[in-house]
Subunit: 203 residues, 2 copies
Amino acid sequence: MVRGSMDAARRSRRGRPGHDRADVIRAGVQLFNEQGYDATSVSDLTARLGVTKSALYHHVDSKEQILAVALDDALGALEDALATALAHPTAQARLSAIIDGAVRVLAERQPEVTLLLRLRGNSALELAALERRRRFDHAVTELVRAAQEQKLVRTDLDAGVATRLIFGMINSVVEWYRPEGPVDPRSLAVSINAVALEGLRPR
Amino acid sequence: MVRGSMDAARRSRRGRPGHDRADVIRAGVQLFNEQGYDATSVSDLTARLGVTKSALYHHVDSKEQILAVALDDALGALEDALATALAHPTAQARLSAIIDGAVRVLAERQPEVTLLLRLRGNSALELAALERRRRFDHAVTELVRAAQEQKLVRTDLDAGVATRLIFGMINSVVEWYRPEGPVDPRSLAVSINAVALEGLRPR
DNA sequence: GTCTATAAATGGATAGAC
DNA sequence: GTCTATCCATTTATAGAC
């Protein structure tokens, strides 16, 4: 077990929390999402964890490293979902699969993906992540374009615009979806696929 | 003319830029959108305007005041669009009108609305703006619910989820729409209305 | 309307002890 | 793995001259 490697006895010992790197990154990502990366100071993070700055810097090299780990996690998951979708035999199946896969990734890795979607490109790290995301977006646009050519998607719309609208809908999920809430990820994926392809009006 | 009140002769005078309050707010909003509010320092803003901090503080009370003016602008425009939509006679017309109106506001007041959509609630000001936005969202959800009751909108979906999905699509416009670009606001509103109600699949 | 100079606080990060 | 103490850059904002 690589993450959360501390055993139960150690974790429950009174007095010293005894955090590990995974704890720090988890708490950091959560706080970055609540307040925004730039609005979150290292002091905010140490206050939440109940440790000093020195303790925190024992586990991570920098505030930015926490962001880097989270972004790599999110991008890796999205790229995996794309690879899975591309393995399907038809354009129709590939399109449905990437919508489904993206919704699942957003629901399952919500904190990390949320950070990715809010990037502004304020550092070399952020710019590199945005470039990697752009490559993902382009690949999805090609899926939509292929579906259009087979008349599976309306052609009165630019493929780029169509993709942005679908993913606008999908990505908005990170802003309101709660894992403990009444909507489960599977039925959410079904709903989004239905609304994206068939619209809100009853057929 | 309330905004940009300086006359041409004054504005073109060499040496001193001679900014007014509207200039400062415009530049601030633009910079907040490029880098994020928290990532933008007052020095960043003075650098862009080519003035010192003291000159800037002559025009505005604080960095936060710039945000306050922009948020009030965005919320006011959205509330106006809602009032206009509510004046329509049928549930169908009201639903189409609010989608149309929201897209138009997003396109026409993109910078201000973008700031609104990215708020995290990090201050009393931000919390108040989020609360005002929440009231707008609730009113729109009621429009969708009414349309559902008349079977104008599919009923296999919660009204709240449906609203979030439509507005996820609409709101994503601020992330990619460019006024100078190939897509004009009117055709964008038509496209979004079509995709939201009828979906991507050709009928 | 803009400047220089500066205050007062907070930012990210480190040294070295336990 | 965590602590106290500290460094130094940067932050928002102000005083007072021109």
